[in-house]
Assembly symmetry: C2
Homo-oligomer: 202 residues x 2
């Protein structure tokens, strides 16, 4: 066979371009032509790498999940105690750095797309439940004395809070600043007792 270019790298670049366009132009601006232009190629190449638009969307969605998962892993691994790990994981999921703010916009875009696309909806549910599981595990580590049901409900509540901070930050960063997010998160974590609130730098 001839000129076997790096397909994996191409898929990655294209889905990153998808992401970039989605963050900048929103869901209506996400067209194959815009993605191709952003990636520096043509729509022909895009549809040679992905079967159709949905395949591109799905891959970009998986990429988003992969990145958030890796960052959560890193935050969790760097923490010294379960309480700090829980706080770090939640904070990085909601923190509005410039890069994260772009991710929040992309997240909202995929959420809206998922409302009309069963495949994306299934992905979204799976990824979110995985995140809930992660948080539930950390909650259980912080409060081993709690029954499983309490850990579960606490986890869903914390995830909902983070999700809400995410979406609200995407549309109104002025009201939902980084400081406001931290305060809201620490207030929720205070319910877990002093162990979770025990953090050095704030």
């Amino acid at each position: 066979m001839a000129s076997r270019r790096d397909r994996v790298d191409q898929r990655l670049r294209l889905s990153a371009a998808t992401w970039s366009v989605l963050a900048e132009r929103g869901l209506p601006g996400l067209t194959l032509r815009a993605v191709a232009e952003r990636a520096g190629c043509t729509t022909g190449m895009v549809l040679h790498t992905f079967a159709d638009k949905q395949a591109l969307l799905v891959h970009a969605r998986e990429l988003l999940h992969q990145r958030t998962g890796q960052r959560a892993d890193a935050a969790q691994a760097a923490a010294e105690t379960p309480g700090m790990a829980l706080r770090a994981v939640l904070l990085q999921a909601a923190a509005p750095t410039a890069e994260r703010q772009e991710e929040a916009r992309v997240w909202v875009g995929f959420l809206a797309a998922a409302l009309a696309d069963p495949v994306l909806a299934e992905l979204h549910r799976n990824y979110n439940r995985r995140f809930v599981d992660r948080v539930r595990g950390l909650v259980a580590a912080v409060r081993p004395d709690w029954p499983a049901a309490d850990c579960s409900s606490t986890a869903t509540g914390l995830v909902a809070l983070v999700e809400g901070l995410n979406t609200l930050t995407a549309i109104d960063p002025a009201t939902y600043s980084r400081a406001a997010q931290r305060v809201a998160l620490d207030a929720a974590l205070a319910r877990l007792g002093p162990a979770a609130a025990d953090h050095p730098s704030g």
Copy 2:
């Protein structure tokens, strides 16, 4: 002039149809033709009532705000204590009745649209800040001893939680059931002291 039909009623029906289509087909499915079909008329009539698609979107967005505001007013007025009012307002904003679940989907659609449309974004910010103000006032009524800054941060946190419950319910009603929402909300309200948690029926 001739046959002065009820323009106000027409605008209301059309924006309701916009809403209905948005809930059912999502943002990509929201076309003038779909709205016209749902409203039982033609695109010509739609564009005689509204100047263009964005005007229709704006009106539908205002209608959504109006309905949520009215329901919040009702919940607040029916409560006997400030604590119960706060809980009722937050619960009705997050509660996944069938009608409310449709509203949650519409809300997400408008949110995604606002990310690419400055006019809708401005509306969204204003309406959300108004809701935060409402919640802040209720928090201050429940805890008059708290400084304003604490009431403010508590309000933003509660709104973020409700918003997160809303979006997550829209995409995954199984995980975020009505019961799960109530538990998460009551857990957050418990931070305000026993006054807010004091509710008769649950």
